[in-house]
């Protein structure tokens, strides 16, 4: 595999210290939580996590918080606006000498794909437009996980969700294509936009280290296996996340000042089917009858993506 790393080159570079404690109420094998844990390890303890409604809202449950830093739950639509208020207040208080600069903290939005692509997209793009200095961590489990796995704009074509169950009028399940949050962000030229995966911790943490050096909006779009929603065993969460990268379904990339680089590129791509067959949310593609045409389309989407990525040298 072709890789690109600056700071986190080996497992030994990962700090042992935890800033997000274990024992939370989230599902075993939650890919979103695993990604967030690695993310916070790279970021350090001086953080405020500003959260939109979703599974991660159940991280801080009165009177406990698993974070070494601070936490603010806002609402589903407006975590980036909450981040704006925190950032601005910190700036003003430091400017006026009411808070020592050493007391400053990084502001991080934590949100699921449902909030990021849907109800929260307005406040997100607005915060990017204002050039807010913040990290945006979106764990992408490709549906509304917390409410029982309903379709979100991030749900992939051909996947089963609770509101797009496959049926005679829509054998594909979800009939729409996954909305591209990476490109929605990139269109506004923020300094840093990346996809990451908890199955590639060094890549993830290295990107955080690079992003930390830049002011402005910074997106981390993190692949998030969701065992109950996807129908995989908790123990297989990381394997499935690996398969997503090895089949080319989840490209690991970053855009620094708009220029896209793929940070992990498999030498040989595995067939997309290898990734699909291990999840019950795609079972209807294989039984009772194989949906050949749809499977071909799903492979084609990935092939086309990589063909254009190679052509653009990205």
């Amino acid at each position: 595999m072709q890789t690109h790393r600056e700071i986190f080159r080996s497992i030994k570079d990962i700090p042992r210290e935890e800033f997000l404690a274990g024992g939370t109420g989230l599902c075993g094998g939650c890919g979103g939580l695993l990604g967030l844990r690695l993310f916070s390890k790279a970021l350090g303890p001086n953080t405020v996590f500003v959260n939109a409604a979703g599974c991660m809202t159940l991280l801080a449950v009165f009177p406990f918080s698993p974070f070494r830093g601070s936490w603010l739950y806002t609402a589903m639509a407006c975590a980036p606006a909450g981040a704006q208020g925190v950032r601005d207040a910190l700036d003003v208080l430091i400017e006026k000498g009411r808070l020592p600069p050493s007391d400053d903290v990084s502001v991080v939005v934590v949100t699921g794909d449902g909030a990021a692509h849907g109800i929260g997209l307005q406040s997100t793009l607005a915060a990017v437009h204002r050039g807010l200095d913040f990290f945006y961590f979106c764990y992408d489990n490709e549906a509304f996980g917390n409410t029982g796995f309903q379709m979100s704009p991030s749900s992939p074509l051909g996947s089963r969700t609770a509101t797009t169950p496959p049926g005679s009028t829509a054998p594909a399940g979800t009939t729409t294509r996954k909305q591209d949050l990476f490109e929605l962000w990139r269109a506004q030229s923020p300094p840093f936009v990346a996809t990451v995966s908890p199955a590639y911790p060094l890549d993830l943490m290295d990107k955080v280290a690079r992003a930390k050096r830049r002011a402005g909006p910074k997106l981390f779009l993190s692949f998030a296996t969701c065992p109950p929603g996807w129908g995989v065993e908790p123990a297989d969460a990381v394997t499935v996340a690996k398969l997503a990268v090895e089949t080319g379904v989840w490209p690991l990339k970053e855009a620094v000042d708009g220029a896209v680089t793929h940070t992990v590129v498999p030498h040989r791509f595995r067939p997309v089917e290898d990734y699909l067959v291990v999840q019950t949310r795609y079972r209807h593609l294989f039984e009772p009858v194989r949906q050949e045409e749809l499977l071909r389309q799903l492979q084609e989407v990935v092939d086309r993506y990589w063909a254009s990525a190679h052509n653009n040298n990205g």
Partner: protein
Amino acid sequence: MTRDLLTGNAAAAWAARLAAVDYIPAYPITPATEIVETLADWVRRGEIQSRLVTMDSEHSMLAAAGAAAATGARVFTASSSQGLLYAIEMLYAVAGWRVPLVLVNVARAVAAPITLEPDHNDILAARDSGFLQIHTASCQEVLDSILIGYRLAEHPDVLLPVLVNLDGFYLSFSREPVDIPDANEVREFLPTYEPVHARFSASHAMAQGVAVLGASAYAFFKYQMQRAAEMAETVHETIATEFCRRFGRCYGSVEGYRLDDADLVIVMSNSFSTIGKAEVRRLRERGHRVGLLRLRIVRPFPHKELVWLLGGRRAVAVIDQNLSVGKGGILFAEIASAFQGRPAPPMLSFVGGLGGRRFRPGEFDQIAAAMARAAHEGGSSVPRLLYSAVEYRQVSEMLRIAHHDVPASVV
């Protein structure tokens, strides 16, 4: 101190300036825009040390406002009508975070149909959110109530955000002489905000707005808010007394007008109560012993004061400038409930002044007559909708010109 002709909006902006607010998230809506525009101008000229950020909606505006207050800044913002309703989800959140800030609402009726003129369905939709509510009747009171509002919101026994209401057009754009207190004197009354519990910093980690599992924790938080709001009654009294001593203007939860010897009492709120006062003077000249009670603080609701001031009257009429569809006037229901378990005067409910519609002198004659009758026959909670034959004819005429049939159901 200087004295100037200020609109209600300018008075609100002046109050924010005098309170030396740190942060102003903004989103425009008529008739509140002038408040934020005025502040933006001062920020750009360097006349105030505040940061003003234009947000993408009122929902985001309140999220930013609350989050900044939770970080330890003094925050001011303003909205109206559709904007306030759009932000309601965040009003509940911010109040639940127990962070102090002042939000000005420039009252405007709510669509549909859409209009720019005021009534109080917008502000009263925020009634149960946990924001305290001060309803003002003059440009001076707007300025003063915002300063008092910060002291109230930031008081360690209260820690609830405050909504200050002023009527769109009638106050927002009316110029009145306003005393602008000296900045140093205001600083003595309202020192720099020192957060008691709410602040985010590297040396002070805090979890705010967390989830609760189970009703016992949820109710624990909600009951604390209720207790804080109850405390706010006496806290407001203390602050208002101090304000009165320093600045010579005195405010209570309610304002009485010619109440002492009044047999019949009209209850109103906000700017139209000045119309009510003029009508009281006119009715007095005709021999009715009428007085007026203006409800100034709607949250915390002044149960005791109302019972004290209205109890024993021969009749009371509540004029609501809002409509809870299918019920009637919201304030009538609140005032009537204050008498639960005590002898109440006969009470009548009137709904009018919707969408900026002015009250007519003839209506006050009818209200006085109805009260006089109720004094013998007893009151009624069935709302009477103030709508005149003249208005009905106006609408009929419009419909006729547009070639539509005229519905008969309203009259």
